[in-house]
Each structure stands twice: as C-alpha cells, then as structure tokens.
Amino acid sequence: MSDHQSTYVPKTGFEKWLDSRLPIVRLAYDSFVDYPTPKNLNYWWTFGGILSVCLAIQIITGIILAMHYTPHVDYAFNSVERIMRDVNYGWLIRYVHANGASMFFFAVYIHMLRGLYYGSYKAPREVLWILGCIIFFLMIATAFMGYVLPWGQMSFHGAVVITNLIGSIPLIGGPILTWLQGGFAVDQATLNRFFSLHYLLPFVIAGVVILHIWALHVAGQNNPAGVEIKSKEDTVAFTPYATVKDGVAIIVFLFLFSVFVFFMPNALGHADNYIPANPLVTPAHIVPEWYLLPFYAILRAIPDKFGGVIAMFGSIAVIFALPWLDTSKVKSMRYRPVMRWFFVIFVIVCLGLGWCGAQLPDAQVIPGLPSFTLFDGQLNSYLWLTRLFTIYYFVFFLLIMPWIGLKEEPLPVPASISEAVLAEHNKKKG
C-alpha cells in the first residue's frame, strides 16, 4: 500500500552503496517481502502468482521455439514438424508452449471470475481492473496469432475467418483488411507479420503486468471479506505467508499442466491442424481454440455479419466498464445473497457459450425433440441456445449489475478483516 513505510535496512556495504544509487533491492523487499497482505486470502488469490509463472513459461519456451521455426508459407508447417521430431527436446518445448496457452487462459479465467465474485474491480481498484482487461485482450491477440504460426488447416482458415471480421466494418473495412493481411488473401505477408507480432506482444503483456502489480500495490489487495485493511492486525507479511501459499498452488497447477503435456498433449488441440494449410479447401468444421469459444459463439449468434463483430468485441468491452456498472457498495458477494446466484448463473452461461461455440449452429440441442422455426432457425438448435446465453451475458452486466446493486439487501459486512477471520474461526469451533 502507498502509505506503507519502507522497512528495508541495507546490511552489507554493497547494499548500502547500491541503495543510495538505485534502490532496486529496497523496491523488491518492500513489494515482495515486507508487503502487507490481507491475512484472510484464500486459494483463489494464488492465481496472480500462477499467471506470472504462465507468462514466464510462454516467453521462455517461445523464444526457444523461434530459434527453430521458419515463418514462411512453404516451410512453417515442416519446421514445426521438425521441432517435434528432430530438434532435441523440441517435442517437449512445443507441447509445453501449446498447452501452456491453454493453462494460461484457464488460470486467467479463474483469476477474472475471482475478481468478479469478490468485487475486486470496485474503488479504489478500477485502474487495476482495466489494466487486467488490457492484459486479457492482449492475451487473446497473442494466442490467436500464435495459433496461426504452425500453418495447418485450422491455423490458416482460422486466420481467414478472423481477419475477415475486420472486413465487415462498413466502408473502411476492406482497405484495413488488405492492410492487415498485407495482400488480398492470408498469405506469406500475413504469416510473417503475425510471427513478428506474436514475438512482440508477450513483452507488451509483461509491461502491462508490471503496471498491474504497481496499481495493485498502490490500492492494496482486495480480500474475501471485501473490506479494506484497517490496521496491522489485518495483515501478514507477503513473505513467507503469501509466497509459500502461492508456491503450493503453483506446484499443484504444474501437476495439472504436466498431465496435459505428458499424457494428453493434443487433447485441447484440433486434429485438422496437423494437415498442412490448403487455401483451396476449408475444413468441414472451423472452431477456434477452446478458450475463445464463448466469444466465437457470441459472434455467430447475431444474424448480421457486422452486428456479430460488434457483439463479440462488445462482450469484451463490457468487462472494462464493470467498475461503473456495479452499483453495490458491498464488494464481496459473500455478503450479497441475491447477486451471488446471478453470478453462479453467469458462470454456467459462460461455460454454456463455450459449449455452443464448438457445435454446428443448426444442430439439435436435444435430438429428436419436436421443434418449430423461430425467425431464422429451429428453436431446438444451438443457434437459439447460443442466443439465449448471449442475452444473459449482456443482461448480467448491463441490467442485473446496476439494478441488483440498488435493490439488494446485503448481509451485515464485518467491520474489519480481523473480525471476519475471528467470526469464521468461531463458527468452525462452535
């Protein structure tokens, strides 16, 4: 926290010398050792640390892969296969990188939902939240461009479909599309620039992560009780308490990571991406990676092409506005008995959107159930299920958030973190 006084005392002569020239050890000590952490943080708070590990893994494996990869339409696919077969431990590094993207998104979704549940976006943490949203958006862009690089069928046609979204913008869409692709179709120029940007963006993400942590350390961490730190009794030192707790979570997370890398490395990918890109044939069923499926579902829910693009970007933009959409003064949903249920439905809807995004829009949701045509599709189809979920997604942010905040009668909020901890302790004992 900003009012936290530095307690760092340089011990050795060198530390004293350095401290008066570049107080970098002091910064690290104040940020990650002596930093006061709310003492009631639960395991949902360990995903920040897990995400830092994910970013580090992606950058390290990515730099190594770039040493062996060739960004050329004729060689890209084969260079990836060479990494898999010939490069020493290339299979391991590529599988860690490919599955690492999935693990990264898995962790970031939990991190975001934790923020949503405990109201971590509310004053004074709006900027912290928006920086997180920017990181999420950059992650989507980076992951999309990375998926194009192996130049398989899904890579290629995914790139065609997504870049063509830009082309749907009225008037300026066409020229912007040509500018992005560097030609009249997804081709060498597109692959080459995607490689360049895929290498660059993780470092931009790292930069925004630093701002994110800075903002976190100015506002102080939120906590499950959702009340601010009032006294020293409410906190413990970051080291060892938070570092060790984060460490335990990171180890468990790496177990899960390893299960994917070593036992089911292609489970989250798509078999069609092991077919070299062929611009003349589109795979029968184009799907993005699982972590983008909810947004893909929203895109397809709207019958108008440009409208679909607006809805998809809108579904991300609305997250940025969350601090001003929620009207409730109570941060943690522990003390919001009504909102809590809407949150549970929201999580189910997001999972449902992901499920719908992987299905053919015209397929029946319940096979054999009689149905009728509503406007442009069968009611018993993924098209209408997706629309239902999409409506809830936007209603949750734009109507439920502001309205429930005004109407809801919150439960009594504890006066301090210490009080919340003691109350819980007594409940368990008695």
Binding site: H157, L165, G182, F184, V186, P283, P361
Partner: protein, 180 residues
Amino acid sequence: MSEPDNTAAAVNDDPSRRDFIYIAAGATAVGAVGAIAVPLVAQMNPAADTLAMASTEFDLTKVQEGQQIVIKWRGKPVFIRSRTGAEIKAAQDTPLADLKDPQTDADRVKAGKEQWLILVGSCTHLGCVPTFGAGDYGGWFCPCHGSHYDTSGRIRKGPAPLNLVVPEYDFLTDTRVKIG
C-alpha cells in the same frame, strides 16, 4: 544571461514572439510525427510484387460438364464451373425478388458462354471456401457458417451478405480464359 531582469522583461515585452516559437516548434513536431508514421503504416500494405498480381490462364477443356475445377489466383481459390443445361436454366429462371443480393445470371457470365461460371471461391461472409454441389440450391454450401449459394453463385440463405464475386476475366479463345 548575466542580467536576468532584462531577459524577463524581454519575454514580457513581446509575448507573441515566444508564442510563435512554441506554436512553430509544436507544429513541426506534429508534422514530423505524421511524416514518420506514413512509412511505418504504409509498409503493412501489399508490396509491389504482391500488387503485380500475375494473371493466370486456364484451359477449359479440363473441366467436364457438371464439374468444377479450383485454381489459385491472388492467393485465393477461383471456381471454374461448367454448368449443365438444367443448372443454367435454374439460375436464369430465378426471380430477382427471391435474391438477397439481386443480380441476373446474365450479369454474372459472358454472353454466349453461359456454360462457364467463374467465381472467386471465397464466401462473402468470412472467407471460407464453399463446398461444390452442396446446399439447398445446388450451387455451393459454406461449411463454416452455413451460407447457401445457387448455380449462379448468388447468396440464397445464410449469413453471407453478397453473391460470390465474379473476377475480371476474358476468353482468349473458346477454350482458354485469362483471369485477372
């Protein structure tokens, strides 16, 4: 410099001179940023070799009636379809009122060469390659998001907004076309 009073007086005496320097410097900086941005942005546009899109020639005798061949032109697939009499008739007899993007079949082929339908094989929705002979109208069906095209390549059903694009092409001889 040795007489600070004088300097201060000079500024106060002639503020417009100082303003002029500020505005001139600022305008130059803005202009310079703009001038630097132009090449940095423009390099992303298609390069000269990409723009010099080689036209492609094709021997029509390779296509049997009722079939299509897909060739690559400007990085995109081009459909060359030899239509049957029934397909041509179906395309010609479709009333314009039934079409989302109204266009007669005659506008989409060369006069006297109604048999040959030449189209850019890129769905006008999001650019997937439609499947030949599938869909409700016997033309093409886009597997990505379910757009149906008729035997003239016109959009009939689904999310695509426009008909499949007819590229620029000419018959060099009766059996040879030049696309582009």
